[in-house]
Symmetry: D2
Subunit: 152 residues, 4 copies
Amino acid sequence: MEDQAEPEVASPEVRKRIHESFDRQGLMAHLGARIAHIAPGRVRIVLPARPEVTQQHGYFHAGATSAIADSAGGYAAYTLFPEDTEVLTVEYKINLLAPAAGDHIEAIGTVLKHGRTLTVCVLEVFAAQSDANRKLVANGQQTLIRVNRSEQ
Amino acid sequence: MEDQAEPEVASPEVRKRIHESFDRQGLMAHLGARIAHIAPGRVRIVLPARPEVTQQHGYFHAGATSAIADSAGGYAAYTLFPEDTEVLTVEYKINLLAPAAGDHIEAIGTVLKHGRTLTVCVLEVFAAQSDANRKLVANGQQTLIRVNRSEQ
Amino acid sequence: MEDQAEPEVASPEVRKRIHESFDRQGLMAHLGARIAHIAPGRVRIVLPARPEVTQQHGYFHAGATSAIADSAGGYAAYTLFPEDTEVLTVEYKINLLAPAAGDHIEAIGTVLKHGRTLTVCVLEVFAAQSDANRKLVANGQQTLIRVNRSEQ
Amino acid sequence: MEDQAEPEVASPEVRKRIHESFDRQGLMAHLGARIAHIAPGRVRIVLPARPEVTQQHGYFHAGATSAIADSAGGYAAYTLFPEDTEVLTVEYKINLLAPAAGDHIEAIGTVLKHGRTLTVCVLEVFAAQSDANRKLVANGQQTLIRVNRSEQ
């Protein structure tokens, strides 16, 4: 179900392109993550709690938190790229602000600066017991590069 | 098999403590990662290639790369902590230098600065077809905090 | 002159403490920077353009941009600390989004997460020809630690 | 005086290009920084202690530390670039490991990965009372982009 507070939705072509790419990411399926919303320059990914994504204290593992944050930012950038291009993560930095406890976490990637070659995103990850009770558990910043398929 | 170039090994107590913590990380088992070496201030984690850890082009997903890098750094710090403490990742930054292609990747976390409260690690991830042909695919820097169990 | 859009102001005691600390920073005076606003959890520092703060193309040097960003974040955290404490920067990461051209730049440090030991800030730097025409030229994220004077 | 432990020196053309660029950086002269060594992929910048570069406790300000680290990394990358190109810092992350106390600090930028578009450097800053007694006070990682002058 799409979030009522996020009415803006990317075009069907962009959403199709992103869902196809996401479905080819073996890791996302293996973790149990799914795309919850695709707006121009903004993508949200949700990961339900399960023992397979925990760290030693039973919270979400920073690796799982980072994985969906990285994908959310990458696809947020990708919504703004022309066809026949690919997106690659150059680097990111993430602060783990609080234990990620809840029945799910969700990562939001938002484009901060969109350039011809490089794009910079802000990454946020919230943990929630319900949609009404969200807590920011990680915050990051990510640099991405656009690669033209003909150059590869 | 332990690496011949890494003869130094942490004490049995420290190795036991780290293996027990690692075994409680649901994510590491779910990805298929294992600890390959535990030296004082230096831990190596190996992740074999499989479809469940890939991104959309079939390489290792940055999330998988980061997950084992984060764990390697965390346990490297943990080798230097006293008993009855825990380690938490404060933040990390990682550059993805090249596509992570190979039959496995390995992350090495190395303590750069060990303090009473904070510890800083360098993170390196190599991709390899064989141990003789390793390539640096990611490089990072991580800050960790020591938490005394009685303070939690 | 205080910004009309920032009516909230820290207490006189906090502002005095921060101005005294700022005045002891030889670098800030040497660059020509000044504190423009001190709100609880949010500090703004302004640096006018002059040849002494440029890089090789005549724009503001990333080092000057970072210096005021780091100080803005540090003092933003410091507004929330009790007396008899000090603030130290643990680390920061900054993206330089565009050439910093204008008659001044201003850095805004905002506390994102305030903890007993660690505080995380978001850093923004804008370049402006006038207050009406601001452009985001850098964005960062910073971790700070509180040090009790008695512990030093 | 060039460091005896760094015999490798970049070509006269590269050194001339870098010294000319450095001399146009108003900030470096204003801080009192100078280039100490230029090797292929590795540049060292020294900054003597003076009140104009301090923070509130009399140590080197993180902004000064970062400024010379950023320049050292930028010029390290620039040694590997062809003529008629420019170097721009995309982003960097730096950990401040210890108070920067001494009669000078020196920043070493070293290229870790050199690509057609992007280059990644490791940044180290040492504080010293004398060359025989150096201490690592900051460690960082930096991403740079090559810009062809004809594209600007």
